[in-house]
Each structure stands twice: as C-alpha cells, then as structure tokens.
C-alpha cells in the first residue's frame, strides 16, 4: 500500500483522475457532434447513386460532416418541407423546377446568394431562377432519340418528325417549342397526329417501343435515359436538332431556417462548382451549368439550350393538358 501511495495513487489524485475522466465522457458527445455535423438532403431517388459516389465522400472529408441523402420524389420533398416548416430538418433540396415554384410560393426556400455561394458567379445565364431561389446544378437535356437500325443518319431537325414517311412511328412528349404562342403550337402539333404513335408518360415503355423498331423516333427524349440505354447496347442514339434542345428540370435550393445553414451553403456551392459538376455530368449524361466545366464527351457541344419559363408552364399546364386531351385525341 505504501508503495502505491509513493507512486502517486493517493486518494486525492484518484478523485481528480476520476473527475476528469467523467467530465471528458460527458463532454464527448458534444465534441463528436461538433466534429461530424449532419447535413440532410432531400432529392430524387435517382440522384442517390451519384450523390453517394461522387459528392458525399469528397464533401464529408472536406467539411468534416456527414451527408444523409433522402431519395424520393420532388412532391414528397415538398411535403416534408411543408410538414416541418416550423422546425425544418432538411437543409438542401434537389427538386424539379416546377415543384420549386410551389416551394417558393409557400415561402419554404432561402435565396442562394453569390456572397454565400461564390460559384453562382460561374453559372451559365438562365440557370438561376426567381431571384436566386434555386439554381440548376446540371442540365439533362431533351433531344431526339432515334432507332439506329432504321435511321442511318440522325434527324437534323425537330421538323423531321412531321415527315409523312414516319406515319405512326413517332412518340412525342407533350411539349411545344413555341410554347408562349400556344395557338400556333397546337395548330402545328395537330399536323403531327398522323405520325404520332403515342405520347409517352412512362419512359421505359417509350424506349422499349423505340428499341423494338415499332417507333422510329422519340421527340423530346431525356438524355440521361437515352444515352444510358445506348451504353447498355440498345440500337438507339440521341441527337440535338439544329434548332436547339430543352433543359430538363434539375434544381437545387436551400431550405429556409435549415439546420447547419453554413454547411448547406457549402453543399450548394460545391454542386454549382466546377469540381463536382465535372464529376457528375458524364455519368448523368447532362450538360454542366458551370461555365468552367467542358461538355462531357458524346454530349452536344454547340447546341442552343432554350431555357423554359417554369412559372409560365405551371400557370398554364392544366389548360394545355385539357387542350391536348381534346385536340390530340385518337
């Protein structure tokens, strides 16, 4: 006992030691929390693979944070924001542009500013919306998908779909290039009726008909789906008509009153930045929105991208659907 006391294990030291250990144990969780803060992101289920592969590891290392990605549908994310408006748990949302409009109307979003997200300055024109309420971090695009067994040369123009030789061979997407002049657009669309096999709402069905040769073209085909099918060996290809292509909704926004707002700004800034966009554009077959990122190989390099006024679309969509049902019926 005397030896032990000599070596310093007296009662006082023991008490101090125990107290210090206890204090450090109590303090540990907060230290841990401070070290790895969590950022919850609501996005589409289809985003999960590239977020977890190309974004999360880099972000978590750089910012010493942990990303939890909730992959679902845009409208479900909207509902999550509505239900938790008083105490949001989502920090960032990646949603379709038309749903962003609904979120803006309900005051659920925090503007993205160049002061907090410097990469905003590097964005292409037309990729920030409604005074910075959301931005496009990528531009998947709509062009023409065609069956390469049937068409040896890619269609050069949207007008090719109207050629009488394609009677019953065209799958369309209810979309009009001159969408602000609706009467003219519908008058033109009606001339497509003879060629129209169907208007698609399910992409797998439309592409299956194209691959089987029943359809020869899908006018208004999504690049991320079409290019992937081509990579998988399907006898199809995508082309950007000379008049230009249309961007597909792909927005990112900050949730108003979100937890860890500084991390949320950082995440948005990274997605608008060159490093992340250069990584995610090729596997998603999309065009980058950051001017410093080159267009990935196989993507249209000089195509005009016609921006879509989603607020105008949202305002008029129902009347267009009703008009489509009446005027484009079989």
């Amino acid at each position: 006992m005397a030896d032990i006391t000599k070596q310093g294990f007296d009662r006082r030291r023991l008490l101090i030691g125990t107290g210090a250990t206890g204090l450090s144990l109590i303090a540990m969780p907060s230290i841990l929390r401070a070290q790895t803060r969590e950022l919850v992101i609501g996005g589409a289920a289809s985003h999960k693979p590239w977020v977890e592969t190309h974004v999360a590891p880099m972000f978590e290392k750089k910012y010493n944070a942990r990303i939890t990605f909730e992959g679902t549908r845009s409208l479900v994310n909207l509902e999550k924001m509505q239900k938790n408006k008083d105490k949001p748990y989502l920090s960032v949302v990646q949603m379709d542009d038309p749903v962003m409009i609904l979120a803006v109307r309900e005051g659920l979003l925090e503007p993205i500013t160049a002061a907090k997200c410097p990469n905003v300055a590097k964005l292409k024109p037309g990729t920030m919306h409604m005074d910075g309420m959301w931005a496009n971090y990528l531009q998947p695009w709509q062009g023409i998908a065609y069956n390469t067994n049937v068409l040896k040369e890619p269609p050069a123009s949207w007008a090719d779909a109207f050629d009488p030789k394609f009677k019953g061979r065209i799958i369309g997407k209810p979309m009009a290039e001159a969408y602000k002049d609706i009467d003219a657009a519908f008058a033109k669309l009606k001339t497509l009726k003879a060629n129209l096999l169907t208007a698609y709402s399910q992409m797998p069905q439309a592409f299956s008909l194209l691959e089987q040769g029943e359809a020869h073209m899908i006018v208004g085909a999504l690049s991320s789906f079409g290019m992937q099918r081509r990579l998988d060996g399907a006898p199809i290809n995508m082309t950007a008509p000379k008049e230009g292509i249309f961007p597909v909704p792909s927005g990112i926004a900050l949730v108003k009153g979100s937890p860890n707002i500084d991390l949320a700004y950082a995440y948005v800034n990274e997605l608008l930045g060159a490093e992340v966009q250069a990584r995610i554009a090729p596997p998603t077959f999309a065009l980058p929105t950051n001017v410093d990122v080159p267009v990935p190989p196989g993507m249209p390099t000089n195509a005009t991208v016609h921006p879509i006024d989603w607020a105008f679309v949202a305002e008029n969509r129902n009347s267009w659907v009703q008009r489509w049902d009446r005027e484009m019926a079989i």
Binding site: Q205, R326, A329, I330
Partner: protein, 277 residues
C-alpha cells in the same frame, strides 16, 4: 338455425365490416363530399360543368363502348371454355382450371407489356392476319381501340369463365340428353335448356367483367396511351397531373355510379332469371 344464433353469427362479419369502413367507406364519403363542395360550400356546379362539356360525353362514350366490347368478347370466348371445363373430367379438367387460373398470378403490367409485343406491326396477330390473307400488309393494333379490347379481354377473361363454369357444372348433363331423345336439335337444346340454366352465371360474369373494364386504368394507359381518355384515366389524370381534385372526384363519382348501377342491375336480373326458371 334459430334467429338468436343467426344474430350472434353476424358478429363474425365485424372485422371485415370494420376494415371496409375505414379503408373503403370513409375515403368514399370524402370523395363524394369533395365532388359536391365548392369554395362557397355545397354545389353541384362541378357535375353541371362536366355534363355541359361535349368532351365529357366523349370520355363516357369511350368508357362504356370499350367496356361493352370487352364484356361481349369475354362472353363469346369464355362461354364455350366454361362449358368445356364443366364437362371435362380428371386430368383434363385440372389442366383447364390451372391454365385459366395461372395467368391471374401474373401482374397486369407484365401482361400489358406482353400484349405490346403481340400487338405490334410485326407482332403475332398482324403477321397471322397477313399470312391468312385477311390483311394485305402488316398493321399496328397497338394504341388502337381494337388492341385495347383484345388486351383487356385477355386480362379479364377468367372473371367471365369462373362464374359461368360454377353454374354450368351444376346443370345435370342428362337434361340435354333428354332433350335430344325427344328430338330437339343441338341449337334448340342450347337455346332452350343450356343457355337459360347458365344465365345466372352469364349475368354474374358479365357484371364482373363490365365493372372491371369500365374502371380499368393501367391497361388503357399502357395499350392505348393518353390520347384516349376514359373516366378512370381522366380521374387519374385529374389527380396526378392536373392536381384538380374537383374534376377528379366528379369523374370518380360518375364512374362509381355506373359501376354500382351495373351491380344492382345484374343482381336484379339474376333474381328475375332465377324466378323465371
């Protein structure tokens, strides 16, 4: 069985009644309520607007026409099958029953995709009709009313065959034999003996198929697309695409009235047929 015992037995239905009240009756009441509610309270404006629109009549016409043809085709194909099944014995009967019930285990979406292949320009039907000289060149049945009728009949056929089979197998085969010994021709025996006795099964089968065909959603969506609207697809479109609950609940209620009328009418017909036999 005494009345008191019968009363106690009724409690056995309680779980089913409770279940249906929660998952069926309540949502249905909400739906009915929504169809007669406007910004200023009770209104039938949605119904008057719906019936004033010529497009609505076209949609109702589409719905009833397709359901009628699907029911008729199911009856024409299903009735002989039901007779064959009822008259078959042993292994043959088992095989026929399995052949009819097994396709029920395959989802409608899978079937609809299979029909998509069959109904193509280079599909089996088109190639067959060209081969026997009915068509000069291959034609597409996919995304046409004919294609929808053929595909939907395939999906609903078992629901026509089973009720007819369950009635026909109870018909004593000696009745037609007796008719034959008395000199009745096969057609006369069919018309005067077999058909009237099988009528309750035909009425039930037709009611089943018509109710399902009138409200089908997935099959028309995949086989004819959104350029051909029925009450069911318009209901789905109103809720899912246009987010117009007022229109969706109105079309749903009209569809419900049609389906309920069919059930009530068929029950009345069955009873009437039963009494006249």
């Amino acid at each position: 069985m005494s009345g008191a015992r019968l009363d106690r037995m009724i409690w056995l239905a309680l779980p089913a009644v409770a279940y249906l009240a929660v998952v069926y009756a309540l949502p249905l009441l909400w739906l009915l309520g929504r169809s007669v509610t406007g910004p200023d309270g009770f209104t039938i404006a949605q119904f008057t607007a719906f019936f004033a629109d010529p497009f609505s009549w076209r949609v109702m016409g589409n719905t009833l026409r397709i359901a009628f043809w699907v029911t008729l085709l199911s009856l024409v194909i299903g009735y002989p099958v039901a007779i064959a099944m009822a008259r078959a014995r042993g292994l043959m009967q088992v095989m026929l029953l399995v052949a009819m019930i097994l396709p029920l285990s395959i989802g409608v979406v899978v079937k609809a995709f299979a029909w998509q292949i069959v109904l193509r320009r280079d599909g089996v039907i088109s190639q067959g009709l060209v081969a026997i000289g009915i068509w000069a060149e291959p034609q597409r049945l996919l995304f046409t009313e004919a294609g929808l009728i053929v595909g939907a009949t395939n999906v609903f056929l078992p629901f026509m065959i089973l009720p007819i089979y369950s009635v026909v197998k109870l018909i004593d085969p000696r009745l037609t034999e007796a008719g034959a010994t008395l000199g009745a021709s096969p057609f006369y025996r069919f018309r005067k003996i077999l058909l009237p006795l099988a009528l309750p099964g035909i009425v039930s089968g037709s009611a089943f198929v018509f109710s399902m065909a009138v409200s089908m959603f997935v099959i028309p969506s995949l086989l004819i697309g959104d350029r051909f609207q029925t009450l069911a697809t318009l209901t789905g479109r109103s809720y899912l695409l246009m987010r117009n609950e007022a229109l969706g609940s109105t079309t749903a209620v009209i569809l419900l009235v049609i389906a309920v009328s069919i059930v009530v009418l068929s029950t009345w017909l069955s009873k009437r047929v039963g009494r006249s036999l």
